[in-house]
Point group: C2
Chain length 236, copies 2
DNA sequence: CGGGAGATTGACTGATCTCAACCCGGGTGG
DNA sequence: CCACCCGGGTTGAGATCAGTCAATCTCCCG
């Protein structure tokens, strides 16, 4: 799984400095991090860690996209969120000492740096700004989770799919032709929305009929974001 | 809304020390808190703060029970969680500086102490243990939120109601006869489960038929917790 | 060319929501 | 003292959204 010389320590240092929660560390503190390690690499579909496993540190995403999900006891996955470069995974379990409550799996080839939990907790206790940044991340996830709960509880599948498409556009960006830069199976889409593969397919083709989106296999083009927004917000 | 001499500062100090996130403060730090204030009191139904308002500190629940909820744009409420004595509310907004994403309303007569945000952020930055405790609270809420998302997305209303009843029992305790010590309208129950009042009523009477619970108006008696657990977990 | 995974479509089912009527108990005002 | 009212609770009938099941299709790969 390891590849050599993918990263030299200079670029890892830059990365930590510029785009992660570790950005406000002092030089000395930064030197305590595993800047010289080679990030673990994962292919699409590879599991980083599983629900129920013990997590002993932060997984910092350096490259790629990870899905973070829970598996219901009927075996159906619910995708909670995605992690992109600069995001951290597993911090909840690291902080509380509980077992992981989610599984994580690469959906685009990924490189991940592991930061041991003791280093993190030491930083929380000694660097107030770091603690604050971490708190902000947790709180912002919390808001998203609360919104999600209300949406799933109150909105129809159609509304949620529209909303998810817009969210994907915001999260993963799009190319010159408005194609979303993210590759998801219909099943994965269903697992975000909280519905079945078949329903996603039917609704996507409905949206396509209405000219709201265009679909080329897994490539999704958002044509009328404003209409989608209406569809997502307003009950009829 | 204010009553005088409800609390002397000694008992507030004890309270902060024994049951709140401020329990690990030094004497000096504790003295910075509003120990001499009289908690604001709220009757059942009174609003503490509304979604969209600016929150500038922690609301520490001293007495009573509060529901924390979001209102969907069709006007239906989704109850996210409850706050009991010792719990804090509004910390998410205080930390991130965003507007409140939930409303809070007393469902049992409540007394609440307000702690200004600057004091809290100062503590986060200067007291590592406090930062850690706060992080743990956020992370633990995060886990609950993730579980909730998966449940609502995957389980039937029947399963969710069974689960909510068990959860209420855990959260609010029960008296000698197994009656839940919490007074909720059918509508409020529905707003936890994420369904309609009518569905809650039908399912409650179904549970009653099956001898799983007993219902006396708003008083709910859990008779067969184990059966409810089965009902809540297993898909059929 | 055969196999398999993912995507699609159709028919059917049923859980849950909606709407509307009705009940019940407590409080109020004439 | 009683009629009325009102909020919450209950019940029934009907509508429908979305899930299930099964068949088929389309690639892509070995």
């Amino acid at each position: 799984m390891k590849e050599n010389k993918l990263q030299d320590s200079a670029s890892l240092r830059d990365f930590f400095r510029s785009t992660t929660v570790f950005r406000h560390l002092s030089e000395a503190e930064l030197n305590g991090l595993p800047l010289h390690s080679v990030p673990d690499t994962y292919k699409r579909g590879a599991v980083i860690y599983q629900e129920g496993s013990r997590i002993s540190g932060f997984y910092v995403v350096f490259q790629g996209v990870i899905k973070i999900y829970k598996t219901g006891n009927d075996g159906k996955d619910q995708i909670i969120r995605f992690a992109k470069p600069g995001d951290i995974m597993g911090f909840r379990s690291t902080i509380t000492g509980e077992l992981a409550c989610t599984s994580t799996r690469a959906i685009e080839p990924a490189q991940i740096v592991f930061v041991p939990g003791e280093q993190v907790t030491r930083l929380v206790k000694t660097n107030g700004d770091f603690a604050m940044d971490l708190l902000q991340i947790a709180c912002s996830e919390l808001r998203e989770a609360n919104d999600y709960i209300t949406d799933i509880a109150q909105k129809t599948v159609r509304e949620r799919l529209a909303e998810v498409l817009l969210q994907l556009k915001r999260t993963f960006d799009w190319d010159a032709e408005q194609y979303l830069k993210i590759n998801l199976t219909r099943e994965e889409l269903a697992n975000i929305v909280g519905t079945t593969t078949e329903s996603v397919i039917r609704l996507l083709s409905e949206f396509k009929q209405q000219g709201l989106v265009n679909i080329q296999g897994r490539r999704i083009q958002i044509l009328k974001a404003e209409k989608l927004r209406l569809l997502a917000d307003i009950n009829y």
